[in-house]
Each structure stands twice: as structure tokens, then as C-alpha cells.
């Protein structure tokens, strides 16, 4: 019996962590919606119950199916994103919903799995060498297409895809891609904090120091100059984009974060309130259903993107550590399993799974505790919402199925 082997071979550690996280998530949604949003927790309970047949379907499907139809799934995913431009419905400022009566579906939550499959499929070809510029271009296009389609509705999700570059690095993408992204982020943040001219001065000094410190054979005045020019150009364009292309509410989010603006009632309200709620939790929290900030409804969107505030307030530092630890264990476990895979396809897919889950986790919590700009990214398995929950479940259980299957393949 196939099912028997799945039962025997599936990684129960992941399944248990997954279940614990989903249940904890529901308890917190229940608490945060108790006073003001009746029915929310019941709806979420229904979504959770519906994941059970979903998981069974995922596990029953033949392991080869995903590899075989990866490209088809990817194309369907892209079409569903493109369709948003025509049929998309705007909910909470983001036009990334399809609406069916009283239910809405967010295709972007599912396209994440599709993209992971497509990447895995492309890289599974043993002929592919990511040192080749053509290959680099192709693989980055696989990432770039969904980004292009989603960035206008939902810049937060676009960021998620960008992070997948880390998987490509694992599979042999030259290191300078990572460095470029890293330096770009650094310059971006510095430009917002300091005046552009100081950042350029800083870049210049760094370039000169690197030049002097490097071995004589490696010194290349032209390359250094070019590098410096590129950095300066980037700094200026960041400054330009920030001042002229960004909308005021985007700018506000960054300015609040960088402490440039203090506005506790306006745009800074969310972050301030979520910090208060978390901060008031102390070591052990106020106890389940006892959170005064949660009850008072001070934190907006608490059951979705700000669900972690309930954890912080009602379960305290101890509860926060438990949640963070569970997530980290899950990520490391997935990476461990991925490295153990016999096929490149499932390894890459596993890596993508870990990377996607991790970046959601990090961006969400960092935003809630005020060290990242406000971006609408859900906390996996925790945040309220059917699309999100199912999307992450599909992502994870496709991998668990591949992992369970590896014995059969031998």
C-alpha cells in the first residue's frame, strides 16, 4: 500500500511542528478576535479542518506528478496572477484577490509553490551550470516573471521571490549576486538614513581601502572606478526613487522605522501599538485570553499580519521563544531533509520551501516588532486566512511527499 509507505516514511517531526503551529495560530486568532470580530475564529477553524483532506490529496498524488507537471503548474500560476489585472478584486488596498461570493482567494499564495516547482524542475537538469550567463538569465527569468506580475498589487510578496536567489546560490550561482544584493540593501538603508553625498563618500573610502588592501595582482583601477561609479549611481537613483517614485505611505513606513518621523496616531500607529502589546507581555505574558491590548482591540489587523502581537502579549517572552524556536527547528529540519534528497529536483524544491517559509517568518515578525517596514506578509500557519494557510500547507506537504517517496524511487 502506497499510503502505508507514506505513513511510515513521512517526516513526523515536520508534521508535528506544523500541527502545533497551526493549533497555536488558531488559539491566538481566537483570542484576538474574541471581543470584536465574531466568526473569524470559526472561519479559520473551517479552513484548518479543510487542510486535512487537502493534505491527504497531496500525499496520495504520485511523487512523480509534481516533477512531470512542474512547468504546467508554473504556467497556470502565472496565468492566475495575470488574470488579477482583469478580474482582481481590491481588499484592504491590495488588488490580489479573486472573489467567489463571500470567499476570496489570493492566487499569489499558491504561485509560491508553483515557482518553487519550476525552479526545481529547471535546475534538476544535470546539464545546467549556473556559471553560464545564459543559464543565469533563464533561471532569473523564472523568478522574475511572477515578481513582475505581482509587484504592482503586492510589493511584499515580490520581496519573498527575491529571497529565492539564496537557493540559486546554493545550486551554484556566482557569489557576487549575493554580494550585489547585500551591498544594494546596505546602500539603500544608508541612503535613507544619511544624505546621499555622505553615503557616496563612505563608498569611496571603502573602495579605496579595499583597493589598497588587496594584493597587487588583484588591483584593478578600472574595475574599482567602475564599481564606485555604479554604487554612486545606485545611491542617487535610490534617493530619486524614494523621493519621486515612492508614494507618501511607502516613504512614511521607512521614515517611521528609521526614527525620522514620530507619528503615533497616524501611520506609526500600527507599529507603536504592536510594540506596546508585545512589550507589555513581559516574561510570561498575561495569559490566554487575558491580553488587555488584544481585548481592547488596539492593534489593527491583529488576527492577520499582526497575529504575533497576541503571542507576545498573552504568552510573553517564553511564548515568543517557543514559537521562534518551533519555526527555526522546522526550517533547519527541512534544509536537513533537502540536503538528504537523492534527486536534485526534490533538493531544490525543499530548499525553496525552507527559504519561502523563513522569509515570511522573518519579515512578518521583524515588521511586528518594529525593525522592518510595514509590509503585508503573513506569518506562515499562524495568520488568519484560507489562501495563506492552504498555500503554505501545499508548499510544505509537496516536499514532505517527495521526502517520503525517496525510498520508493530506489
Amino acid at each position: 500500500m502506497k499510503n502505508q509507505s507514506v505513513k511510515k516514511n513521512i517526516d513526523w517531526i515536520c508534521v508535528i511542528i506544523y500541527s502545533v503551529l497551526v493549533i497555536m495560530g488558531w488559539l491566538n486568532i481566537y483570542s484576538s478576535s474574541l471581543s470584536s470580530m465574531e466568526g473569524t475564529s470559526n472561519k479559520q477553524l473551517m479552513f484548518i479542518v479543510l487542510t486535512i483532506p487537502l493534505i491527504f490529496i497531496l500525499l496520495f498524488v504520485d511523487g512523480k506528478f509534481y516533477e512531470k507537471y512542474a512547468s504546467v503548474i508554473y504556467v497556470i500560476g502565472l496565468l492566475s496572477l495575470a488574470g488579477l489585472f482583469v478580474f482582481g478584486k481590491t481588499i484592504k488596498g491590495q488588488a490580489n484577490w479573486y472573489s467567489f461570493g463571500s470567499f476570496g482567494i489570493q492566487p499569489s499564495e499558491f504561485v509560491k509553490s508553483a515557482t518553487a516547482l519550476a525552479l526545481a524542475k529547471y535546475l534538476s537538469d544535470s546539464q545546467i551550470n549556473l556559471k553560464d550567463v545564459n543559464r543565469q538569465f533563464q533561471v532569473l527569468s523564472i523568478l522574475g516573471l511572477p515578481i513582475l506580475l505581482i509587484v504592482f498589487h503586492d510589493p511584499g510578496s515580490a520581496l519573498i521571490y527575491c529571497f529565492l536567489i539564496i537557493v540559486l546560490y546554493r545550486e551554484g550561482l556566482p557569489a557576487w549576486y549575493i554580494w550585489t544584493v547585500f551591498i544594494a540593501i546596505l546602500l539603500f538603508v544608508l541612503t535613507l538614513i544619511l544624505q546621499p553625498q555622505y553615503v557616496i563618500l563612505l563608498a569611496f573610502i571603502t573602495t579605496v581601502i579595499v583597493y589598497w588592501r588587496s594584493r597587487l595582482a588583484n588591483r584593478n583601477i578600472i574595475a574599482s572606478t567602475l564599481l564606485f561609479t555604479l554604487m554612486s549611481g545606485f545611491v542617487f537613483s535610490v534617493n530619486y526613487v524614494f523621493e519621486n517614485v515612492f508614494k507618501q505611505h511607502h516613504r512614511d513606513r521607512f521614515n517611521i522605522l528609521l526614527g525620522k518621523t514620530v507619528d503615533l496616531k497616524g501611520i506609526g500607529y500600527n507599529t507603536n501599538q504592536s510594540e506596546i502589546a508585545i512589550g507589555s507581555g513581559g516574561w510570561f505574558g498575561k495569559g490566554f485570553l487575558e491580553g488587555t491590548q488584544t481585548k481592547g482591540g488596539f492593534v489593527p489587523e491583529q488576527h492577520t499580519d499582526y497575529i504575533f502581537t497576541t503571542v507576545g502579549e498573552e504568552w510573553g517572552f517564553v511564548g515568543s521563544v517557543v514559537v521562534v524556536a518551533l519555526f527555526v527547528t522546522l526550517f533547519l529540519r527541512i534544509i536537513y531533509l533537502a540536503e538528504r534528497q537523492k534527486t536534485k529536483f526534490s533538493r531544490v524544491y525543499g530548499y525553496c520551501t525552507a527559504a519561502i517559509l523563513f522569509i515570511h517568518f522573518f519579515v512578518n515578525i521583524a515588521m511586528v516588532i518594529g525593525i522592518f517596514p510595514t509590509i503585508g506578509v503573513p506569518l506562515p500557519f499562524f495568520s488568519y486566512g484560507g489562501s495563506g494557510l492552504w498555500g503554505f500547507t501545499i508548499l510544505l506537504f509537496i516536499f514532505l511527499k517527495m521526502d517520503a517517496n525517496k525510498v520508493n524511487e530506489w
Partner: protein, 650 residues
């Protein structure tokens, strides 16, 4: 090694999150405090506002105790509404409205239910306060005015509005804040800092003592007393003289830049904006768009100054070498400054030198002097910039930086101004000649006029006018001790001053001499128009007078503006001379003149304005169209009657 990047990132990132969460939850206590506003009651202790004294130490503004009834809507229980309303003398409708308003603000935060009860009202309420759960009394101090003048200088105290609470976290609903005048400008000094007491409550809402032994409590910091540079005696006298007139008086001590008097008329008794009648009275003042009692004419009334500006024209022409003391101009009751263009003049005519030019206020002389200044350079745009720079060195055409919250820039045109008016260029000195006699594009406020006279009195320097003399336990802004030197050489002031001196002896102000005080002055007239029933109607001129005295070692520089007062010498001149006499001699010898001024009422003249619906009906005409008229009449350049906007009020 590539395998290790993602796991390392995950571990580093998770640690980062935990460190920040640890900081928020364990190290930093303030969040806990903020969240416990349910379990912790915050009590504020409001310090008394600082007192306000005049330059001689006379107390002008003190405080009185007042009591606000505060409400926390969520905590109202078992209220006997009928008794409650009877006790406070309000209707049930009122009661419901106020509660609804408080609920909208916040059901769990206190807001003011009824403001500014007096002692006896408070005593009656306090007796029964135990019956009224959800209400409590907050003691505050209110202003107690010792004088019935100076409302424009003091400003007033009002409750903060939503906008202020949002902008400045110090203020909470129901707090008081100074608006207008020194109450606004020196708010933080006068206000002090309120004290906060955190009181721990148990779950039955009983107070069980101070939270964490008062670790977060702060003690109220008393507001500081201030001395103004105002001389209460001449301030009062100035307001008295201006009764039944509209306008402003600004008096400055030239040696220091201290404002001795800042009168606006009509004004109001400051004490009407205190107590339970406050909002009714304020509404009345605020909606009086005709007389505008809340509008400080001394600071805001912007007009072409007319003849007093000839002082500037003369000084700049001397500095630029365009004329000297002996330059003679022939006046044919006017002069023809370009083909077919004639500027009229009311002086006695004939050949004039600078001296007589000033005291007879000859348009021909100063029109000529101005044109020579401009024609000195090949390019008129360059010349007008040179001229403009000289004039601006007197602090004109800009916000002067004084310590009162309202003001107007005035206007001193430069080449940019004319580039706007004549985008194609081609203008010459003839097009802008009216600047020379204080018309054209030149605009000044009374305080700028007074500052100009102070600078002339000092022969070339001034201190930024200011109203603060002393802050108890503090120092005044060092910028008020900074000497501003003009670009005009000191010796060039002599001939101008001597001309101004003879305005009283031989010239336009002969009638208002004061025996024994050497006054230097200058009359002025500003034309103004309004629209009545859609027609442009010329109104009686605004009467302007500027002066300083005594001629040697000047003690006071003054500017007087009386709206629709006619010639400068008929009403503004006498007021200026009475003010000077009062300040220098402390008494008035010319009681008949004083009586005449006190009895003069311009109400009839203002009645015509009273017929208008809106202040906005007052129009300004395009300036260049007037300039193109064949015969140039010196006073017909549009001067908007009241070019002001509504006073800045929240």
C-alpha cells in the same frame, strides 16, 4: 560551504528577532506602563502658568483657580441624570450631546465634560461627586487679567484641539494652550510642565497606592514669569486714544528694539475670554469679519506706506550719490517724469532742496531722487536690486523675526518682482517711479514703519523688535541683542533727520507740536478701495504718521495707522504726538487736543463697510493698469483696504 549560508542566515535572523523581543518584553518597561492604562490611573497635576508683567514690573496677567468636570464615559454607572443636570444647570439635551462627544473621543479616556467652573459651582458639585461615578474634577489654573487692555499682546488660553493633540504628545484632551500673542509665542515658558502621577488600581478599580513607588511619576514644573517690554501706561493710553477708530500703533525704544506699545483697534477686554462664557464670546469675536477684533493691525495691516517711505528714498539716493543735500529739483505742483506722464504734488512748489523736500513731502523731489538712483546704472533691473538691498537692510520686506506669532512680510520689490509684472522686460525707471513715494509695489506694516523710524533715530542700526524683556530663570533669545547695521552711512542720516524735525516746525505736522519736545516725524496717507454692490469705491484714505523723539538721544519711535482717518496730520499725527508726550512726560498738557482725539469717532465712515457682507469683497486692482494711466496720480495705486486674511486661530 554554500550549504551553510541559508542555515546561518536563519539562525542569525532568529537571534536578532529574539534579542529585539527580549528588549521589548523584558528590558524596556515603558510599554508595560503604556498598556496598563486600564490597571493604572494617570493623574495630572497642572502647574500654574507664569505671570506676565510689564517693563516696569506692573502685574498684567495672573491666575485664578478653575475646575473642569471630566468624564470617562465607560465608567458612568447608575447616574441620576436629572439631579446631575440640575446641579450643573444644563439641559438633558446638553448632557446627552456632551456624553456622545466624549464617547466619540474615547470611551475609556477622560475628556472634559464641562469646563471652567468657578469656586461656588465647584463647591456645590464637589459635595455630591460620590454619587456620580465616572466623573471627577480636574483643577486647573485660569488667567486672571489685572488690566482691561493688551488683549492682542497677551493672546488667550484655550483648550487644545484634536490637531494639536496629534502633533504634540505633551497635550492631552482638555489641556489648555496659549493662542495668539505672547501666550502662544512663549507657551512653553509660561506653561511649565505638568506633573504625572501613576496610581495603581486593583481589579475592583480601587486605588491602592502609587505605581512602583512612584518610579515613573514626575513633579510639575512651575511656569516662568515674564516681563514684557510693554509700558502698561502708554499701552492703555494708546488703546484709549484709538477707541471708535480702527488701526494700529507700534512704539519701539530705538536703542534696544523693545516694543513699548502695540495697539490694535478695535480690541476687547481680555477677561471676556475666561470662564464659562468664553466660547460664546470667542465666537462673537471670531465672526466679526468687519471690525476683526482678533486681527492685530499693528503687525498685520499691510499697506503702501506713502510719504513716510520718502525717508528711505532720500537715504538710498544719498548713499548711491544720486543726490546730495544741495541737489535742487523744481516742482510745478508735480513733475513730468516721462512724455505725457505727470506726477502730481501738493507741496508749495518752486525750487526745493532735500530739506524742504522732506518737510513739505514733495512728490516731485523724491520721484526725481528715485529715478536718479535707478538711472545711475545702465540696467534698471540691477539698479532696482541695489536699491532693494539698501531698503531691506532696514528689516523691511521680510518677516522681522520678532517674538509674536503673527506677521506679514510687507513687500520691497526687486528685479524679480518686475520680471513677473513685465515678463518681456523693457521697463525703465519711469515705470516704477511710484516706489519712490511709497506707492507702487511697496508694502509695509505698522511695526515695520516703527522699526524704520527707530533705525533712522539710531542713525543706521536697529535691534530686532521684541516684546520680551525678562524671563524669570531664563534668558531671552540672543538674536534680540544682535545689532543690525544698515548699508547707509551714518552721516547721511543727519540731513534727513533735520528735515523730519522741520515737519513739525514748518511742514505737514505744524499743528501738533509739543512745546519742549523735539519730535521728528512724517505724515503719510494710504489710499484704499472697496467693492460695494459690485462697484469699486474709493474710501477715505488711511491716515499714517511715523515719528521719533527726542531728536537728540531718541527714546521712542512710533508708527500710527488709522484706517480711513484721512490725511496723516488730521488724526494719526495728533495720536503720535500725544503718545510721545505721555511716554516722555508721563502727563498731557494739551488737554484740548486729547479731548478732540478721544471724542473723534470714525464709526460713520466704517458704517459703509459694515454694509458689506464679507471681508473678501474688498478687492485689489492690478497695479500695472494704473501705471499706464496718462496722468499719474500719486495716491491712486491700489491699496487694498484690508489685505489681510482671517487671523490665525484654531
Amino acid at each position: 560551504m554554500r550549504k551553510l549560508l541559508l542555515p546561518s542566515i536563519i539562525i542569525v535572523a532568529a537571534s536578532l528577532l529574539l534579542i529585539r523581543i527580549f528588549y521589548l518584553q523584558v528590558i524596556n518597561d515603558t510599554f508595560k506602563l503604556k498598556s496598563e492604562n486600564n490597571a493604572i490611573k494617570i493623574k495630572y497635576e497642572y502647574p500654574e502658568r507664569g505671570y506676565i508683567y510689564d517693563r516696569n514690573g506692573k502685574l498684567l496677567v495672573a491666575n485664578q483657580a478653575s475646575y473642569d468636570i471630566m468624564v470617562i464615559p465607560r465608567e458612568i454607572k447608575n447616574l441620576d441624570t436629572v439631579e446631575f443636570c440640575q446641579l450643573l444647570d444644563i439641559t438633558k439635551d446638553d448632557f446627552l450631546k456632551k456624553i456622545a462627544k466624549a464617547k466619540i473621543f474615547s470611551p475609556r479616556l477622560p475628556s472634559v465634560f464641562l469646563a471652567q467652573l468657578n469656586k461656588s459651582e465647584y463647591a456645590a458639585f464637589q459635595e455630591k461627586i460620590r454619587k456620580f461615578e465616572g466623573f471627577y474634577v480636574q483643577k486647573r489654573s485660569l488667567r486672571d487679567y489685572e488690566v482691561d487692555f493688551g488683549a492682542n499682546i497677551f493672546g488667550f488660553i484655550t483648550q487644545v484641539n484634536e490637531g494639536i493633540i496629534e502633533k504634540n504628545p505633551y497635550y492631552k484632551s482638555g489641556d489648555l494652550i496659549g493662542k495668539q500673542g505672547v501666550e502662544e509665542y512663549y507657551e512653553e515658558i509660561l506653561r511649565g510642565i505638568k506633573g504625572v502621577k501613576y496610581i495603581q488600581k486593583d481589579k475592583y478599580n480601587r486605588e491602592i497606592g502609587s505605581y512602583k513607588n512612584g518610579r515613573y511619576d514626575t513633579i510639575a514644573v512651575q511656569g516662568e514669569d515674564i516681563n514684557l517690554t510693554i509700558d502698561a501706561e502708554i499701552q492703555r493710553y494708546g488703546e484709549q486714544l484709538m477707541i471708535n477708530k480702527r488701526g494700529g500703533i507700534v512704539a519701539i525704544e530705538p536703542k534696544t528694539g523693545e516694543i513699548l506699545a502695540l495697539v490694535t483697534a478695535p480690541s476687547y477686554d481680555p477677561s471676556i475670554l475666561v470662564g464659562r462664557q468664553r466660547s460664546k464670546n470667542y465666537t462673537l469675536l471670531y465672526h466679526d469679519s468687519i471690525a476683526k477684533p482678533l486681527y492685530d493691525r499693528g503687525l498685520l495691516a499691510e499697506y503702501p506706506p506713502g510719504s513716510p517711505f520718502k525717508i528711505m528714498t532720500g537715504l538710498v539716493a544719498l548713499q548711491e550719490g544720486a543726490i546730495d543735500e544741495n541737489t535742487t529739483v523744481f516742482c510745478h505742483h508735480g513733475f513730468s517724469y516721462a512724455r505725457g506722464r505727470f506726477m502730481r504734488c501738493h507741496c508749495h512748489g518752486g525750487a526745493l532742496q532735500l530739506h524742504r523736500g522732506i518737510y513739505e513731502s514733495c512728490n516731485a523731489y523724491f520721484g526725481t531722487a528715485y529715478m536718479r538712483t535707478i538711472n545711475k546704472y545702465v540696467k534698471p533691473s540691477y539698479a532696482v536690486d541695489v536699491w532693494s538691498k539698501h531698503v531691506k537692510s532696514f528689516g523691511l520686506g521680510q518677516f522681522m523675526g520678532y517674538d509674536l506669532p503673527t506677521g506679514r512680510r510687507g513687500n520691497i520689490p526687486d528685479s524679480k518682482t518686475y520680471k513677473r509684472i513685465y515678463p518681456n522686460g523693457g521697463w525703465r525707471s519711469t515705470a516704477i517711479v511710484s516706489n519712490g513715494i511709497g506707492q507702487g509695489e511697496v508694502l509695509m506694516t505698522p511695526i515695520q514703519l516703527a522699526n524704520m523710524m527707530a533705525t533712522v533715530a539710531n542713525e543706521g542700526y536697529y535691534y530686532t523688535p521684541h516684546i520680551i524683556k525678562k524671563i524669570k530663570g531664563g534668558t531671552i533669545d540672543p538674536k534680540f541683542k544682535e545689532k543690525h547695521v544698515t548699508t547707509i552711512n551714518k552721516e547721511l542720516f543727519k540731513p534727513i533727520i533735520s528735515g523730519l524735525f522741520d515737519v513739525y516746525n514748518l511742514g505737514t505736522a505744524r499743528g501738533v507740536r509739543v512745546e519742549g519736545i523735539d519730535i521728528c516725524g512724517k505724515t503719510g496717507t494710504a489710499e484704499n478701495y472697496t467693492k460695494i454692490d459690485g462697484k469699486r469705491v474709493k474710501l477715505q484714505d488711511h491716515s499714517i504718521f511715523v515719528a521719533f523723539a527726542p531728536k537728540d538721544n531718541p527714546k521712542i519711535a512710533i508708527a500710527v495707522l488709522v484706517e480711513n482717518g484721512g490725511f496723516g496730520s488730521t488724526i494719526a499725527g495728533p495720536i503720535a504726538s500725544l503718545m510721545i508726550e505721555k511716554y516722555l512726560r508721563k502727563k498731557i498738557t494739551r488737554t484740548d487736543l486729547e479731548k478732540r482725539i478721544l471724542e473723534t469717532s470714525l464709526r460713520d465712515r466704517y458704517a459703509i463697510l459694515g454694509g458689506m457682507k464679507e471681508a473678501s469683497a474688498i478687492e485689489s486692482s492690478p497695479k500695472d493698469s494704473v501705471l499706464k494711466k496718462r496722468v499719474f496720480q500719486p495716491k491712486t495705486v491700489s491699496t487694498t483696504a484690508t489685505k489681510d486674511s482671517t487671523p490665525k486661530i484654531n
